[in-house]
Symmetry: C2
Subunit: 418 residues, 2 copies
Amino acid sequence: MNDDATLPDALTFEARLDRLAEIAVKVGLNLAPGQEVMMTASLEALDLSRRITEQAYKAGASLVTTIYGDDRATLARYRLARDESFDVAADWLYDGMAAAFRKGAARLAIVGDDPALLANEDPEKVARANRARSKAYQPALELITTSTINWSLVASATPAWAAAVFPDDAPDVALAKLWDAIFKASRVDAADPVAAWRDHNAALRKRRDMLNAKRFRALQFRGPGTDLRVGLADGHAWMGGASPAKNGITGNPNIPTEEVFTTPHAAMTEGVVSATKPLSYQGTLIRDIRVRFEGGRIIETSASSGAAVLERMIGTDDGARRLGEVALVPHSNPISQSGVLFLNTLFDENAACHIALGQAYSKCFVRDDLSAAELDAAGANRSLIHVDWMVGSAETDVDGIGFDGSVAPVMRKGEWVD
Amino acid sequence: MNDDATLPDALTFEARLDRLAEIAVKVGLNLAPGQEVMMTASLEALDLSRRITEQAYKAGASLVTTIYGDDRATLARYRLARDESFDVAADWLYDGMAAAFRKGAARLAIVGDDPALLANEDPEKVARANRARSKAYQPALELITTSTINWSLVASATPAWAAAVFPDDAPDVALAKLWDAIFKASRVDAADPVAAWRDHNAALRKRRDMLNAKRFRALQFRGPGTDLRVGLADGHAWMGGASPAKNGITGNPNIPTEEVFTTPHAAMTEGVVSATKPLSYQGTLIRDIRVRFEGGRIIETSASSGAAVLERMIGTDDGARRLGEVALVPHSNPISQSGVLFLNTLFDENAACHIALGQAYSKCFVRDDLSAAELDAAGANRSLIHVDWMVGSAETDVDGIGFDGSVAPVMRKGEWVD
């Protein structure tokens, strides 16, 4: 095992970018020869998307199609479009993506949005546009959340994101720092990055198997501003690291990943929870979130900024007020230890224990063939959204509560008890 | 009328680009408020596509979605992909476009491809990839060729295109020259460009109405290397300039346009025709095309370069050997007079009389409600391709042949007779 045999001096930026592209294709997607790739990326991620395209063809992709988003086009819409525009989405494009997935395409998304892109736009318009987009995306998203296909997220640094993360640095310094943090978190510098990911996946699998052996009924979170009991779905299974999709391909849906996670029961969360990091939601930073659950449903919210966006987010549908995921991440992991607040869920969720409002992952069950009615009965939540937010810190304690009422310590001060 | 009141000194490059974007939206699409826009563009056309996006939102677009193509990704595929890749197309994306059109979206395409992009690639792979793409695009293309929706093509200069057009100039000079030629051909410099287009459309309409009044049975082309009789489809109608789509919107499908055109009879072209300009087809330049028709079908071909690509092109299907369009363009028009060989059909077809192999436009008929069977019976050609090539010059004579055998001069030495 050779995770830590890094080669920082030997690798140029371009070489690290190529390695990230290789990890995205070989570890993230574990692309099958002959498989089609549907990629989404911001125009600012062009360098990485082109390298991923090359790596995908090298790995045997039949065709790589990239749909580019453009922040400037998005802003032009908010500045210039008629009011009715904000209830419209490109449903034809999302339906097309779903069709691609149904015929076997893998899905890669490059993330790295400007966390404050829409901060100055009308939150009501932002919410309406997101709602329309979420609704249009639902058929495609379902094929992702049910792991019908192999899919993965990987990140590309952008100047706007870097400026938000490192506001005190010059633009080029901030960008270089963010890239460095992304490369490190994505295990790009290991002597053999693909082998390093194999070892890391084995470690996550061990933790996941331990939690599955315990078969808890609920988890109890305690920390500053948090006293929350999260009921787990009936027949839930813990997942983490590489996971097999229904198409038989075992990839890593998130690059990086440090979490093990499962499906809570949509009606069985009680108590109060306080976010331990700001949440960047569709262009707005929501700070100091604190909510109260009763019967699995949020009944009170507060936030020191972005409260209106939070309210609109949880107003998307009934499921947006309920939990669809709970995840355990030790505070000592490399992303947390970097001390960087990435303002991006893909990274920040790997720095801390977290919960997600909205759609549950149907794959987080012992049985992988549950019908929609069976998933409902087991407590799997349904929603147009799936939004992770951080509730763990170095002060977080987690207990597992058994069906016999027994209480077993799972984490103390943010670290695994074992 | 003020077509020629140009303001060359008053307009910056940016202002001309904004005007081209405005023409694309207001003249090309004649976008209806609330209409969605599906745009395709090369990444190199980003500046123009963003300005079109702005103009579209200003004109009331509900949503503008741009699908960007990337030459480097295309080349990566030819360099790295497995052989089977070249029979695959993103059918899910083209089906999505067709779905967008069916629900009312307008379609704008920014052209400006590198005419030699695929010149060094295996022509067989190029042909297979184009065939797969054409097949996938067919349902969407049909909604365009039948004018079910308003659509338009507009051009953006690119360094590779400019280098091909102006090989003796420095790159920045070539690019500036090509932009200037595009702006002039697109009537960007008129005092009021939208009004100039209104006047130009009226002039084309007058010529079109005159040809429709004559109701010729066939056209006879004569010139160096050309002695060709093109039978016209039964009930054909001449079109040109602005034309109403079936959705009730009258736009200009081509920016620029100087042609009047109609549908030939697929089985009634006889004789020999020589191209008067090179044809840029899917990345290859085909020079000195000369073909012989018998019974409407090409039975002999030759070309001084690109002959294999020509053979593969006309081998796409039976309709690829037959005519789907015939167009008359006076030699004295501004694009021809510029002397620039654009190596791009959108421009070069407006410099000369031309014919197209492949799919006919069903809109070029007196009746606009012909069934597929009626179109077949009238002689409208069917094919996966539609490729225009230039057969007119300052030496071209065209006669119109009436149903009574009468012969009327239509053009002499490339100019209208009237």
